[in-house]
Symmetry: C2
Subunit: 299 residues, 2 copies
DNA sequence: GTAAACGATTAGAATAATTCAGTCGCGTAA
DNA sequence: TTACGCGACTGAATTATTCTAATCGTTTAC
């Protein structure tokens, strides 16, 4: 290309010779013939006006200039190769990468176990799960502080993309002390029963109560608590009912005497979406992780 | 070269397009035609599977991926170019460089004025003069803490190179009160005179006294002091003689009534040598500075 | 609407990189 | 000491890549 400017591709040849200490082995590593490597070395020698490697027996020993040059340029070459790889391809098996994921509340419980199981085969991959306030989600994604966020459908700007990750619905969890459901749970039975309302707020209706009030009915709240797990333990020991997302319900009732029942009336779905900063969406590592999350969500 | 490995020379093309925001201007900057740059960009686009630059009117606007890639790889590219330049060529006019020079005693006075005058035309060059114990000279040169040392002939290992920088001899400095030298200074007159001995030690003979004792003679020391400058001020005000290196003598007597006379007997020369760490001697910046020092010493 | 500026594409020329074939130097074993 | 194997170097031939000239399509300015 330009006169007097070193062909930067020769740096890779230099580095390989340096590492292998032999032109023949370097040629093998580069998938070239030995004379090709010899010619490349000749070009480097001409450029630096130094033999760079001196043959001693069957080893090519680096000259002081070669050694010093190798130490000086290596960090830059490593950094460039890393940058090129970041935007060209991502190999999760060999490349270290930390993914920052915004997960709220029960989504940690429903996603992280399967996700970490999937990452067993990728020991270089690390995941950091953070809870970010909803109002900060987009700025954190744009700034790269978060790679992805997982949440219900939220209004976002055109700078943030999202797609459906998993469908979820509300179901009813009942313990063995709750009777009268041999033919399924009717709306009358549901409304006559006493309920546990799960909310991090100390007052106000739950999401399901909004829908019931649209039907002109309301249920009887006997207990208000903050965590679905605690609510299920209560339902198991009493005849109170818990209305909650199905995915989490099925996780919790395992090896308990609790049952999952369909809600006796239609409720809008609780769909979980994956969010990311649109301009970054072509980055190979992020694309790979996105696919992985879809696989995990399909469990 | 290798499949799937980016031609690193394309990075320079990328960077130029990014900076110029136009293929035509980038081509001009790279001394290529516009289609050559277009081809290179096509290769980059294929590699990253991204347009990288989108034409908006007559500007090529970088895509988000291109922007992020530019920011990521720029430090590495800068570092590599710097490393390559360090070992290929050195341009003292435009490249910043600090040279560490080991100078003892009067050598600072005799070298630094002319050296700094020569460096007037190289504003990017900085010089640090350090006094290093003689026993530490070689380790400091090897470690790169010193680029060069200037001293009389010393015994050094094969890892340290040296070459003659300047020849010097001992001369006699006399003030206007000293008589009887119309036909030159004879050995008898020299021995009959009173002398100033300059030494940082509080006792013991000077170097010239070793040579005189080999002739079976000795001179009369009337004063012992530590600096040649002070000794010369004494000679100017009295009829005492000072025996000292010629280069410094000629510097000091300027615009005084002092005279420089040949020593009336042969003494071995006081040659000043330049020392450096042999393995580094091919580095272009050090080569350049070495040449400069020779020019300065030839003054 | 026209001319100029600019990027993309095609075809061919020029240049660079790689391979092939052969020679030379070094180290080791017989 | 000789023969052999290994590996680097060199030059010619071949292949691949890059660059240029020309042209086409798009955009901008007047």
């Amino acid at each position: 290309m330009a006169m007097n400017r070193l062909d930067l591709n020769l740096l890779h040849v230099f580095e390989t010779i340096y590492r292998e200490g032999s032109l023949t082995r370097a040629a093998r590593a580069l998938h070239l013939t030995q004379p090709a490597v010899s010619h490349s070395l000749a070009r480097l020698r001409a450029h630096f006006d130094d033999p760079l490697f001196i043959r001693q027996g069957n080893e090519m020993v680096a000259t002081p200039l070669a050694r010093r040059f190798a130490d000086t340029m290596r960090p830059g070459l490593t950094q460039i190769q890393s940058a090129v790889n970041q935007f060209h391809s991502f190999d999760p098996v060999s490349q270290h990468k930390v993914f920052a994921l915004g997960l709220r509340d029960i989504l940690e419980s429903t996603f992280l176990p399967h996700l970490m199981q999937s990452l067993d085969q990728y020991p270089e991959i690390e995941v950091v799960s953070q809870r970010i306030p909803r109002r900060d989600m987009e700025t954190h994604l744009a700034a790269g502080k978060l790679d992805f966020a997982v949440d219900v459908l939220l209004p976002v700007s055109s700078q943030t993309s999202h797609e459906l990750l998993r469908r979820d619905t509300l179901v009813v969890v009942a313990g063995p002390k709750f009777d009268g459901i041999e033919n399924g749970l009717s709306l009358e039975t549901y409304l006559a029963a006493r309920h546990v309302l799960v909310s991090s707020r100390t007052e106000g209706p739950g999401i399901e109560d909004f829908e019931l009030s649209r039907l002109g009915v309301h249920r009887r709240i006997a207990l208000r608590c903050q965590h679905y797990y605690a609510a299920c333990r209560v339902a198991e020991a009493t005849d109170l009912l818990v209305t909650m997302p199905e995915t989490y319900a099925r996780m919790i009732i395992q090896q308990t005497s609790l049952r999952v029942l369909p809600l006796p009336t239609n409720m809008p779905p609780l769909n979980v979406h994956l969010y990311w900063h649109t301009p970054y969406e072509k980055e190979p590592a992020l694309k790979w992780f996105r696919e992985l999350l879809h696989q995990v969500a399909a469990h």
